[in-house]
């Protein structure tokens, strides 16, 4: 049986992608239908009245479908679905479509033109209204699918555990997936740090991105997904599936074999923490076996609002986030917005290059009122809950910026200030950047993006964004060495911390805490328990000596404890 896991049988078909959320899955494929557009060569309308009857019927079926889904959704989703159904039923929209039919446009093109009439009006209004254009176009795409008689875009209804396959998943689509029914996720596009990857890991669903021709796999095809190696096997043999199951069981046994704080074999403590992005994440992570939160992303507090949230509103939210952790550590990242995710109330205008623009702490420097309100609310919530709250700033590049931030944090009564190390410049000068701070935290996703000059949203550049890239490891080492000289602790809160082999390397480089999706914690705990600190240092030296990312990963895997390497 072990042979079959090494070489998939010949009648099976192997596709190699990038594993982004660990674990294995097996099940039938459910294809997520892509957005539908009106065909350019559609025949013109000759009988506008009859055509309008069809178009209205299409809109009605879209409304009925959305209303049906609303009945099974939670409160937030329900309101969105109901409002979207109202758009489909809108008489003004039907009238506009009728006008385009009379002008001779085909049914699908008339729908598209009517939608675009309104989209243009909404875009002109800007702000919140412009954001609703997505909902409007979604209604249009669904109505066009209905008149053309093709599947509606999005995730179709299914009721047996399945593997979801898509070109890429929108964050909203990923968030609304039913965890109990989604065995695995495969996308053709996407990257190592795309939102699909992060959300899948958060939900503990095995996932592979960048899988070649994934959208061409026939619905219902049985596939095996290996979220560690990135292998997707179509029509696997029973033996191969048994092999995967065996590995899953071994893995499950290993994951329950250790518990408590992260420790190497010789007792060196490495704190294992959770990355969270909201109240629900906090409530789920709170009861789990971890030492707290290493990265609380606060953007959701701001992005959902048209005006700056008040101190009272923020205090209430932060209190709910801190409460599940008792007196454990919660590391909070202050607002990390920029031109790519603009805030209605702090929009500095479009930028050519948002990733290199006025984002993170640079935005806070322009709008210190926003930062002060956030810090005041964090201090209120800290007092209310007794949590060990530590605050850090994103996108810090210099020692002056770090000192400015640390002063503001302390002026608001908060005891601990730190900085994210995600700009290579700050990593190289960590000793001085951390001078006035209490800790540093490596954001490996952005650190890789800036070190390798590769946009993290570009799935095609995934190889460059691999945290195993020797240059990225060099920059991490420089940051750890600088922190050691300054006598300040350095942690990791990027996805790299959740890779059990990389976690060993990072520990060897001097990292004292690892923050990750909670589903990854037990595997990392198990990996640490098998190796001494000296082992980790040896593995780090191997990784740094390798000329390429692939060789670094292979060298570490080869030298790691066998009980770990058989599981990944």
């Amino acid at each position: 049986m072990t042979d079959s896991t090494a070489t998939p049988p010949t009648d099976a078909e192997l596709r190699r992608g990038i594993g982004v959320s660990p674990g294995t899955a097996y099940g039938p494929v459910v294809q997520v239908a892509p957005a539908v557009t009106a065909p350019a060569n559609e025949a013109p309308t000759t009988d506008p009245e009859a055509a309008l009857v069809d178009v209205k019927a299409a809109f009605d079926s879209v409304a009925a479908d959305l209303e049906g889904r609303a009945r099974h959704a939670d409160d937030t989703a329900q309101q969105i679905l109901k409002a979207t159904a109202l758009i489909a039923k809108d008489k003004g929209l039907h009238k506009a479509a009728g006008k385009h039919l009379t002008a001779g446009k085909g049914k699908a093109n008339a729908i598209s033109a009517a939608i675009e009439d309104y989209a243009a009006q909404f875009e002109a209004l800007g702000g919140y209204f412009a954001e609703r254009v997505t909902d409007l176009r979604d209604v249009g795409s669904r109505a066009i699918a209905a008149v053309l008689g093709v599947p509606a875009p999005g995730v179709p209804h299914f009721d047996v555990p399945s593997v979801i396959v898509a070109e890429d998943l929108a964050p909203a689509e990923t968030a609304t997936l039913d965890r109990a029914l989604v065995a695995g996720i495969i996308t053709q596009a996407g990257g190592r740090t795309s939102h699909t990857a992060i959300l899948a890991a958060q939900m503990g669903i095995p996932a592979v991105v960048q899988c070649p021709d994934a959208t061409q796999i026939a619905p219902g095809t049985r596939v095996a997904v290996d979220g560690d190696s990135g292998e997707v096997t179509l029509n696997p043999t029973g033996a191969y599936v048994d092999g995967l199951r065996e590995r899953r069981e071994k893995r499950a046994a290993a994951l329950t074999a250790t518990s408590g704080p992260g420790r190497t074999k010789d007792g060196h403590h490495v704190a294992l923490l959770a990355n969270i992005g909201g109240i629900k994440d906090a409530e789920e992570a709170g009861p789990q076996d971890l030492e707290g939160v290493g990265l609380f992303r606060t953007e959701f507090v701001f992005l959902s609002s048209d005006k700056a949230p008040t101190v009272e509103e923020q205090t209430e939210i932060y209190t709910k986030v801190f409460a599940p952790f008792g007196d454990r550590r919660v590391v909070v990242r202050t607002l990390d917005a920029g031109a790519d995710k603009p805030l209605a109330f702090a929009d500095l205008g479009p930028e050519e290059n948002p990733a290199l623009g006025r984002r993170g702490l640079r935005l806070s420097a322009e709008r210190p009122d926003l930062l002060d309100a956030q810090l005041e609310a964090l201090e209120n919530a800290r007092k209310a809950t007794g949590a060990d709250v530590r605050v850090m700033a994103p996108m810090v590049a210099t020692a002056e910026e770090a000192a400015w931030f640390a002063r503001r944090v302390r002026e608001n009564g908060l005891p601990k200030a730190g900085v994210m190390i995600e700009v290579p410049g700050a990593a190289l000068r960590a000793e001085h950047v951390l001078g006035d701070c209490d800790f540093g935290s490596l954001g490996t996703n952005d650190l890789a993006q800036y070190t390798m000059a590769a946009d993290r949203m570009q799935g095609e550049l995934s190889d460059l964004l691999d945290p195993w890239q020797p240059a990225v490891l060099d920059v991490i080492k420089a940051a750890c060495d600088g922190a050691a000289k300054a006598g300040k602790p350095m942690g990791v809160c990027g996805e790299a911390g959740g890779d059990p082999l990389l976690a060993l390397v990072l520990t060897g480089l001097g990292v004292g805490s690892l923050s990750m999706a909670p589903s990854k914690v037990s595997m990392v705990r198990f990996a640490l328990s098998l190796h001494s600190l000296a082992d980790c240092q040896g593995l780090a030296a191997r990784a740094l000596a390798a000329p390429t990312a692939a060789e670094a990963a292979a060298a570490v895997k080869e030298a790691a404890h066998e009980e770990l390497s058989v599981l990944i």
Partner: protein, 89 residues
């Protein structure tokens, strides 16, 4: 024809959620109800896209009109609705 003038209480104006609640109530009346800025062309109050495209902001005045039996009561109900901060609820 019944007519009322009211200022929008919703803190973020008449956008998706408040607009949806308003349109639902206007539709339930079964009457021809219109909404617009004073002195400007009015739009069909049962069209969510029309109401949203109006882009009425917090504190802005709008004129409601309705024709038919029970128009006064229908408008009273809608005025009451627009006078509440629907976003805060």
């Amino acid at each position: 024809m019944a007519q009322r003038t009211v200022s929008i209480a919703s803190s973020v104006g008449l956008h998706a959620r408040p607009a949806a609640i308003f349109v639902e109530q206007a539709s339930q009346s079964g009457l021809d109800v219109e909404i617009g800025r004073p002195g400007e062309d009015a739009v069909d109050a049962t069209s969510i896209l029309g109401v949203m495209a109006l882009g009425a902001k917090h504190g802005e005045e709008v004129v409601l009109t309705a024709e038919g039996e029970g128009a006064e009561e229908v408008l009273d109900g809608l005025v009451e609705l627009l006078s509440r901060d629907l976003d805060a609820e």
